[in-house]
């Protein structure tokens, strides 16, 4: 049987991957302590080989999906013959075993890249990095091999009592909620984020264990952190958009444990991306940064655990899955290793500087971190509250969205404020004059706009604050681009547009960061729009209508299109606006044949200012009439668009800066991460003197250099 040899092939590759990881770990450690370079090298090769072996296992599992071979329990549970190929590929991560394999695969991909790209660099640091990466891989490969093996075959006793393998003729199908294009991209993105944070974690722990001098590990891992952070953010947004488009309850975020689980490491990652600047520029917060990286990694593991084990949502804690205790054990080991590494090397992390003034860049970073950590803690606390309350009081209590909203909306607004203020404050201390020069106009315009909005009837307090702050932040960002570009434009005699381009490419990190900030402003505006959403639910038969906002929705027809994969109930609705026919909408409910599960297909008519969101909620059993649930969700599009801006900004911030490339070519730099001397700046400073001191000061100190 072809199938049975291939599943042996797959599980054998997985077992070899486990052995290779063990070799990379043990061999690497011996190599470090016995100072045997050759052993360290072979351990590194073993670490890289894990990637190839896990890739083989993934490929052979995919082969089973694509050949409709239902002899594997995992394939039979998550696929069926009529499933489109696109989704057969995605079915790999539809269940527990497969998604853990997928975790291992992405992790080994990151580990391979980190080991390969640095194979000739950082000879004292990399062996430790390899050992730590291998340690994490051992945990996940243990799960893959011995706890949740995706290659388990279906077997049953035959009439004479002998156990035989069986091949089912049909699979039970992929959960229809996952049969949506974004569900193919969302888990890989989220998992790329989760696994990606392993690399900064490995470098931070390695630097601490090996007492690697200075801030080098931060320079090395800055891009890795941004990649992981960006993937995680994209994953969260895709998940939110999927929930919005598929679940049909009119929203995109409900503070659900799994949503929260992904948000937590993203928050600490955001805090880390900001506080590293304190360490780079001022030698402060070393302990804090190391612990931020450690926490981010542990929250990634916790997130995987919450997603997989389902401890929080169930009424019976821990009854769901035996995999939970493995994760708890692993988290305990990681925490213990981090604590010991920190305690033994804490002298290595001492700060160089103290906080000089409350009105300074330093203190804005400190508040940023404080507030992000508070948000993280509140979300973590709320998510784990059922578990914690059961341990402490014996009764299981959950908290709902009001808890999360109450805490996080003020935090978000304060963050928005810092986004506007922080980047324009000087290091050490900012004078009152500088404050006035930088903030008077943006703040004035924002307040006037807020007053006008209030007079026009814009009364929701938080939404009004969000509007004022968004305008303020946008203006400060705009003025930063304008000031810098004006200097370049007058010096090089170019127009302002190309000067903006030149300015951005000259300091991609800073201006990319501003673009990320602007994207976040757009996302916040979109979220604030939630305060103005409305919905109507009504039973309508053909010819009847319902009204919402400026729209009248007339029911034209009900039919039931179907194919091999599903049968469907569909409403044909005509949308009128001010009496004029505007569009047709076709909300649907699909009943999937293989799994007998129903899915809602929401009809969304999206415009920049508002979404008309219409759900066919089903047939009311007591009256036999179809129920249509319509929502108007203002500004939701800002969220998705803001997400794209954040991605672009992040990409830009990772782009090498123009000057760096030149410096590198002259080979005066030991590595690209070294601080560029401030002497690269004076070309600008002559004209900068007239145009704004804050600009000059920052360029001179070279403070935003990588």
């Amino acid at each position: 049987m072809e199938g049975s040899t291939l599943d042996i092939f797959g599980s054998f590759a997985l077992l070899l991957a486990f052995l290779a990881a063990v070799y990379a770990f043990v061999g690497g450690l011996i190599g470090i302590y016995a100072r045997k370079q050759l052993l360290s090298k072979s351990a590194r090769h073993a670490g890289m080989a894990v990637f190839g072996l896990v890739a083989l296992a993934v490929a052979s599992l995919e082969y089973f999906f694509f050949t409709d071979n239902f002899s594997l329990a995992y394939v039979a549970q998550h696929s069926n013959r009529a499933l489109p190929g696109f989704y057969k590929f995605a079915a790999l991560w539809a269940g527990q075993e497969g998604s853990l394999l997928w975790w291992s695969f992405l992790l080994s991909m990151f580990a391979f890249s980190a080991l390969f790209l640095n194979r000739k660099r950082h000879p004292e640091l990399m062996p430790w990095v390899g050992v730590i990466l291998a340690g994490v891989q051992i945990f996940f490969l243990t799960l893959n091999n011995f706890v949740a093996n995706p290659f388990n075959v279906i077997a049953g006793a035959d009439s004479s009592g002998v156990l035989r393998m069986a091949e089912l003729s049909h699979g039970s199908g992929l959960n229809p909620l996952l049969q949506y294009p974004e569900m193919v991209i969302h888990p890989p993105m989220l998992y790329l984020g989760y696994t990606g944070f392993t690399v900064p974690f490995a470098f931070a722990l390695a630097a601490l264990l090996g007492r690697y001098p200075g801030e080098k590990w931060i320079h090395i891992t800055r891009r890795w952190t941004m990649v992981a952070w960006c993937f995680l953010g994209v994953g969260i947004l895709l998940g939110a958009h999927w929930a919005y488009a598929v679940l049909g309850w009119g929203g995109y975020w409900e503070w659900d444990p799994v949503e929260n689980a992904a948000l937590l490491p993203w928050i600490t990652g955001t805090a880390f991306l900001h506080s590293v600047m304190m360490q780079e520029k001022r030698g402060m917060m070393r302990v804090w940064n190391v612990w931020l990286v450690f926490s981010t990694f542990m929250l990634c593991i916790l997130g995987t655990f919450l997603t997989r084990a389902g401890i929080v949502n169930s009424v019976h804690a821990f009854a769901e899955s035996q995999i939970g205790s493995w994760f708890v054990g692993f988290l305990a080991i990681v925490l213990a290793v981090c604590l010991i590494a920190w305690y033994k090397n804490r002298d290595y992390l001492r700060s160089d500087n103290q906080l000089d003034s409350l009105v300074s860049r330093e203190s804005s970073f400190l508040f940023n971190n404080l507030i992000l950590l508070a948000a993280c803690f509140a979300v973590l606390w709320g998510t784990l509250f059922p578990v914690l309350s059961e341990w402490v009081t014996g009764s299981k209590i959950s908290v709902g969205p009001p808890f999360f909203d109450k805490v996080n909306i003020p935090i978000a607004l304060f963050l928005l404020f810092l986004t506007g203020v922080g980047p324009l404050l000087a290091w050490r201390k900012t004078s009152f004059d500088a404050l006035k020069r930088n903030f008077a106009w943006p703040l004035g315009i924002a307040l006037v706009a807020g007053a006008v909005a209030d007079v026009l009837g814009f009364r929701n307090f938080y939404a009004l604050m969000c509007l004022i702050l968004s305008i303020f932040v946008t203006l400060t960002i705009g003025s930063e681009f304008y000031r810098g570009a004006r200097v370049i434009a007058s010096r090089d005699h170019v127009n302002i547009i190309s000067a903006v381009g030149e300015l951005t490419m000259r300091n991609t990190r800073r201006y990319g960061g501003y673009i990320v900030h602007f994207g976040m402003v757009l996302i916040f505006i979109g979220i604030a729009g939630r305060a103005f959403s409305q919905d109507v639910s009504k039973q309508v038969s053909v010819g009847q209508s319902l009204s919402i906002g400026p729209y009248t929705i007339v029911c034209q027809n009900f039919d039931s299109p179907s194919n091999d994969n599903y049968t469907s109930q569909r409403a044909t609705l005509e949308v009128l606006r001010n009496g004029k026919s505007e569009m047709m909408l076709y909300p649907e409910r699909r009943l999937f044949t293989a799994s007998q599960v129903t899915e809602t297909i929401v009809a969304i008519e999206s415009s920049p200012l508002r979404d008309l969101y219409v759900v066919y909620s089903g047939i009311d059993p007591s009256t036999n009439k179809p129920v249509i649930h319509a929502f108007i969700n203002p500004l939701v599009k800002f969220i998705w668009f803001g997400g794209i801006v954040v991605i672009l900004g992040t990409g830009l911030a990772m782009f090498p800066e123009r000057r760096d490339a030149l410096v590198l070519r002259t080979a005066t730099q030991p590595s690209w991460g070294e601080a560029v001397p401030a002497s690269a700046a004076p070309a600008l400073s002559g004209s900068a003197k007239q145009s704004g001191q804050s600009f000059l000061r920052r360029t001179d100190s070279g403070d935003d250099r990588t």
Binding site: S99, N175, G248, R308, G310, S357, F414, S537, I619
Partner: protein, 140 residues
């Protein structure tokens, strides 16, 4: 040291404010989880709390009457009559024998008024799949 002191005071104000907000949010939204057998042991204020109760939908117990829906949850032989007063149509997974989680309050007569009902097919019951699938369980 002066700046440091100010920073600590500022942080203190922020943290106390957030704690107060968290407490208000907590009292507004806390929901207790109970098993059906625990319900008979509750007394005093605990009877009036917002709670979630899970159990299996008793076969043949689902009735539609005057726009409302009545059914009986059972768990280990204990029964709980439920009156669903929510406006959303129930998920299709809600049928005889399904596992259901109801959220609402107990009446003095010992029945349950549910504002939300979530259901999972008993046969398909397994650990949640990838990503926001708990959201699925919560909203489908």
């Amino acid at each position: 040291m002066k700046a440091r002191g100010k920073f600590i005071i500022g942080s203190g104000i922020i943290i106390v404010t957030l704690l107060a907000l968290a407490y208000v949010g907590y009292t507004q939204s806390k929901t207790y989880y109970h098993t059906i057998s625990e319900l008979s042991t509750l007394h005093g204020a605990a009877l009036h709390q917002r709670m979630r109760v899970s159990g299996d939908v008793m076969a043949g117990s689902i009735e539609h009457a005057d726009g409302h829906l009545h059914f009986v949850l059972e768990e280990n032989g204990k029964e709980l009559p439920v009156n669903y007063v929510g406006t959303d149509p129930l998920p299709d997974t809600f049928k005889d024998g399904a596992q259901a989680l109801v959220e609402g309050q107990l009446t003095p007569q010992g029945s349950f008024v549910a504002e939300q009902v979530q259901a999972k097919c008993a046969s398909k019951y397994q650990a949640a799949p990838v990503g926001s699938s708990m959201a699925v369980a919560g909203k489908s």
